[in-house]
C-alpha cells in the first residue's frame, strides 16, 4: 500500500459513488448513502448537478445532509418544490430525470434490489420499509447507480422479494418489459465497483478499492461473482474529496444532534 491519508471503507465507497455523477445531470436521490454521494459530487466536481428528492424538492442545495427525504433544508434550498403527484408524474414518469441513485438492503447478480422483506411476504422474518419511490426511479430514470455495503447477507443468490427491477432475469429481459430507462450502470460498494456485462447483464467486478483483494470481494458475494479479465484499482480518495466529505458529515452530525 502506498502512503496516503487514512480513510475508511465507507468513505471510499461514497467518494467512488460521487465520482460517477456527471456534472449537470438531473439526479433523483435516495436517502442515506446515495444522498451523501450525490451531495459530495455537487460539492466537488459536479457543481451544476440538479439534485431531486422524492419529497418534490427539485434543484435542492442542502448545506447539511437531510435525515429524512423531506427535511426543511431541502425545500428551503430548492429551485422549486412540487407536489407528490407532480414529481412522480411530470418529472419522473415524464422522462426528465437522467440519473437515479438508490441504496438497497439486498441485491442480486442482475442488480434487482430488495427493500421490502426478508423471508416470506405474508409472514416475514424481517419487515423492511418497502418500496417508496424506488421502483419508479429504477424503471424511469435514464440510468441508475446503486450503492450499498458488500457482504453475503446483502449480495444474495436469490432475493426474497424484488422491490425494484434491475436487469430482471438478465439478457434482454429488461428491454422486453419496455422499461423507459436503461437500468443500473454501476454498483458501488465498500469493496469495489461492479458493472453489468453488456450482453448477459450480470454484474462483473471491474474495480477493487485500494487494499482490497479480488478474493475478498468474491467471498463477500452470495453468488459466484464474475470478475473482469483485468480488474482496476479504484483511485484512493484525494485529500480534497475527503476534506469536503468529512466537513459535510461533521456539519450534518452537529445539525441532527439538537435536543429532542
Amino acid at each position: 500500500m502506498p502512503e496516503q491519508t487514512a480513510y475508511t471503507a465507507d468513505e471510499m465507497m461514497t467518494v467512488a459513488a460521487a465520482r460517477m455523477v456527471r456534472n449537470g445531470v438531473a439526479c433523483f436521490v435516495g436517502i442515506g448513502l446515495p444522498s451523501a454521494a450525490a451531495n459530495l459530487a455537487r460539492l466537488t466536481h459536479a457543481l451544476d448537478t440538479v439534485l431531486i428528492y422524492e419529497s418534490g424538492t427539485i434543484g435542492t442545495k442542502p448545506a447539511v445532509l437531510p435525515l429524512s427525504i423531506g427535511d426543511g433544508e431541502l425545500s428551503e434550498t430548492a429551485d422549486t418544490v412540487v407536489s407528490m403527484v407532480e414529481i412522480f408524474s411530470y418529472w419522473l414518469q415524464g422522462g426528465r430525470i437522467g440519473l437515479g441513485f438508490l441504496g438497497a438492503a439486498q441485491i442480486d447478480r442482475f442488480a434487482n434490489i430488495n427493500s421490502t422483506v426478508i423471508g416470506d411476504y405474508s409472514s416475514p422474518a424481517v419487515r423492511l420499509p418497502g418500496a417508496g419511490g424506488a421502483p419508479g426511479i429504477a424503471a424511469s430514470c435514464g440510468e441508475v447507480l446503486i450503492t450499498l455495503r458488500q457482504n453475503k447477507r446483502a449480495f444474495v443468490e436469490k432475493l426474497d422479494f424484488v422491490t425494484s427491477g434491475g436487469y430482471l432475469e438478465g439478457g434482454d429481459s429488461r428491454e422486453r418489459m419496455r422499461f423507459p430507462g436503461k437500468g443500473p450502470t454501476a454498483v458501488i460498494t465498500d469493496l469495489g465497483i461492479l458493472t453489468p456485462d453488456p450482453a448477459t447483464k450480470e454484474l462483473v467486478l471491474t474495480s477493487v478499492h485500494p487494499g482490497v483483494s479480488v478474493e475478498s470481494v468474491i467471498s463477500a458475494t452470495g453468488w459466484p461473482l464474475k470478475v473482469a479479465p483485468s480488474v482496476e484499482t479504484t483511485h484512493a480518495p484525494t485529500e480534497d474529496e475527503l476534506a469536503v466529505l468529512r466537513d459535510l458529515q461533521e456539519r450534518t452530525a452537529r445539525a441532527h444532534s439538537g435536543q429532542a
Binding site: I31, G32, E54, S55, G56, T57, P66, L67, S68, I69, G70, D71, G72, S75, E76, V81, S83, M84, V85, F88, S89, L92, Q93, N112, T116, Y121, S122, S123, P124, A125, V126, R127, L128, P129, G130, A131, G132, G133, A134, P135, G136, A138, A139, S140, F161, V162, T163, S164, G165, L168, R174, R178, F179, P180, A255, H256, S257, G258, Q259, A260
Partner: protein, 282 residues
C-alpha cells in the same frame, strides 16, 4: 364552510371506528396532534392510509387503532425501522395488520384518482417489482390508444382525511407551503376532512397560485400551535431529527413503548399537555 373547532371535538365528530383515515403530510406537516387525539379517544379498526406511515402511524398501530395499513414506505426516515409497525406485521402485536402496499407513484395516482372521482389511477409503474404478486389492488391494463401495458390502481376515497397546514383565516380558508406532498389530493378525495393549523389569522396574504384549500372543501379547522412536532412546519419550526432518532430506542420494546405512550400521550389531556410532559421528563 369549514367550522373552527377544538381538535378534541373535531376528532369526536369526524373520526369513527372502522373508518378509512388518511393522515397525510410527506415528512413535513405531519398531523401528530390529531393522531394523538385519535389514540386518546381509542378509535379502533381503522384502515390507516399514508404514503409514509412515519412515527405517527407507528404510535397509532402500537396503540391498537389500526386493522389495515395502506402505504408505500414504512420506515423511520434516516433512522431505520418503525418497530411497532414491524411488530404488528411480524408478530401480530397488538393485533394483526393487513397491508395494501404500493410504490409512491402508485399511491400518488390513487389519491389523484380519488380527488378526481375516477375509479382508478393509471401509471407506467410497478414494472419489474413483486408488489403486484402480493397485492390485488395492482392490475395491468392495455392502453386503448397505443396498446401499451400500464398499471391501474384503485382510487383512494378516505372517510376522513386529516392534514396539518401553516395557517387558516377566520372563515376557514387554509394556506400551506413548502413540501406539500399529497395533502391537497387527500383532502379532495375524502368524504370528510379536518385541517389542523399553526395559527388562525385575519388575512392569509396568499399570492395567486398558492396552495390554498378554500373553506368550503374543508370540514373543520383546528388550531394547535406546534401540532406537527416532531415533524416540522416550514416557517414555524424545524424537524426535530433528534426525536426521530430517539424514537428508535423508545419504540423498540413493547414495554418501553407502552410506558412512553401512557405517560406522554394517553396520560395527557391534549397536545399542549403532551409537549409539557416531554419537557418535564427530558
Amino acid at each position: 364552510m369549514a367550522r373552527i373547532l377544538p381538535l378534541k371535538e373535531a376528532v369526536q365528530e369526524f373520526v369513527r371506528d372502522g373508518d378509512t383515515v388518511a393522515l397525510e403530510g410527506f415528512t413535513h406537516l405531519i398531523p401528530f396532534a390529531a393522531g394523538h387525539e385519535i389514540i386518546r379517544q381509542e378509535r379502533r379498526n381503522l384502515t390507516l392510509v399514508r404514503m409514509t406511515p412515519d412515527v405517527i402511524y407507528d404510535q397509532m398501530i402500537g396503540a391498537g387503532c389500526a386493522a389495515k395499513l395502506v402505504f408505500s414506505w414504512g420506515g423511520n426516515p434516516g433512522v431505520g425501522s418503525l418497530h411497532r409497525l414491524r411488530d404488528a406485521v411480524e408478530n401480530g402485536w397488538p393485533r394483526p395488520l393487513a397491508l395494501d402496499e404500493h410504490e409512491h407513484a402508485g399511491m400518488a395516482a390513487r389519491y389523484a384518482a380519488g380527488a378526481s372521482h375516477l375509479p382508478f389511477g393509471v401509471l407506467r409503474g410497478y414494472l419489474g417489482t413483486d408488489l403486484p404478486t402480493h397485492n390485488s389492488n395492482v392490475k395491468f391494463i392495455d392502453c386503448p390508444f397505443t396498446g401499451e401495458r400500464l398499471a391501474a390502481v384503485p382510487a383512494i376515497r378516505p372517510d376522513v382525511t386529516i392534514i396539518h397546514a401553516q395557517k387558516a383565516d377566520r372563515r376557514g380558508n387554509v394556506l400551506m407551503w413548502g413540501v406539500v406532498g399529497v395533502q391537497k389530493e387527500a383532502v379532495m378525495a375524502a368524504a370528510r376532512s379536518v385541517v389542523v393549523v399553526e395559527e388562525i389569522v385575519d388575512d392569509l396574504h396568499a399570492p395567486p397560485n398558492s396552495a390554498v384549500l378554500p373553506s368550503w372543501v374543508v370540514g373543520a379547522v383546528c388550531c394547535v400551535e406546534g401540532g406537527a412536532f416532531p415533524s416540522y412546519a416550514q416557517g414555524y419550526y424545524s424537524r426535530n431529527n433528534a426525536f426521530y432518532k430517539g424514537w428508535d430506542r423508545i419504540s423498540r420494546e413493547r414495554e418501553s413503548f407502552q410506558a412512553w405512550m401512557d405517560r406522554h400521550v394517553i396520560g395527557t389531556a391534549d397536545f399542549e399537555g403532551f409537549m409539557k410532559s416531554l419537557e418535564r421528563h427530558a
